[in-house]
Amino acid sequence: MKILFFGRLRDGPPAGPVPSGVRDTEALRAWLGGDRPELLDTSIRIAVNDEIVPGKQPVEEGDEVAFLPPMSGG
């Protein structure tokens, strides 16, 4: 699984190999949040394979998961 961080989340450490028991976005968020509690904040949105997911969504080997902090374009 490929995990990407954007914006201020880029400043943290990259993610290590995801344990096989992590099978959905919220489990992934909780696992990563052990080291990086800022990821637990509900303002951090998650995209799976280029689609922002509204809630818990299954993830599997080969997926690309992006963590997106609040946006600030324009």
Binding site: F6, A47, A66, L68, M71, S72, G73, G74
Partner: protein
């Protein structure tokens, strides 16, 4: 038309092209957002605009589609920079052409509100006291809820 640019662009040249395409329009509104040279009392040395390699463009297309559906427009253009920007450089250019001015004003205003909160861009300002990530202000979220 939407475009995501890694290189600086000239807003007035974009307005010239846009106007040439907008035959029959009675009203053209443009917005240019620029890197300011100071913020919160500190000098701004530059701006880094992080984006997502695919989601950002998708989101820009979505905003364009929503504006076209919502307002009576002849044409719309959204051009957004990413990468490293110097003070004074344009960050974003939005233009709308319509028969009457209200639709053109509202469309550009709407697109700017959407860009502030709904499109994957993240700004980091380099100031003399270090680098600061910016987030949409509370006012930006209020503006977003107007529509």
């Amino acid at each position: 038309m939407i475009a995501l640019r890694a290189e600086p662009f000239d807003a007035s040249a974009l307005l010239a092209e846009f106007t040439a395409r907008a035959a029959g329009a009675g009203a053209i509104v443009s917005f240019t957002g620029l890197v300011r040279d100071e913020n919160d009392g500190g000098a701004v040395l530059g701006l880094e605009l992080d984006h997502h390699p695919r989601l950002t463009e998708q989101a820009l297309h979505g905003v364009e589609r929503d504006a076209v559906a919502r307002f009576d427009l002849l044409d719309i253009a959204i051009v957004h920079r990413h990468g490293a920007l110097a003070p004074g450089e344009p960050i974003v250019f939005v233009a709308a052409a319509a028969a009457h001015r209200r639709s053109a004003f509202d469309a550009v205003d709407y697109v700017m509100d959407r860009l502030k909160t709904d499109v994957p861009f993240w700004k980091r300002e380099r100031r003399d006291d270090g680098a600061h990530w910016l987030e949409a202000r509370a006012g930006d979220h209020e503006d977003r809820r107007r529509w």
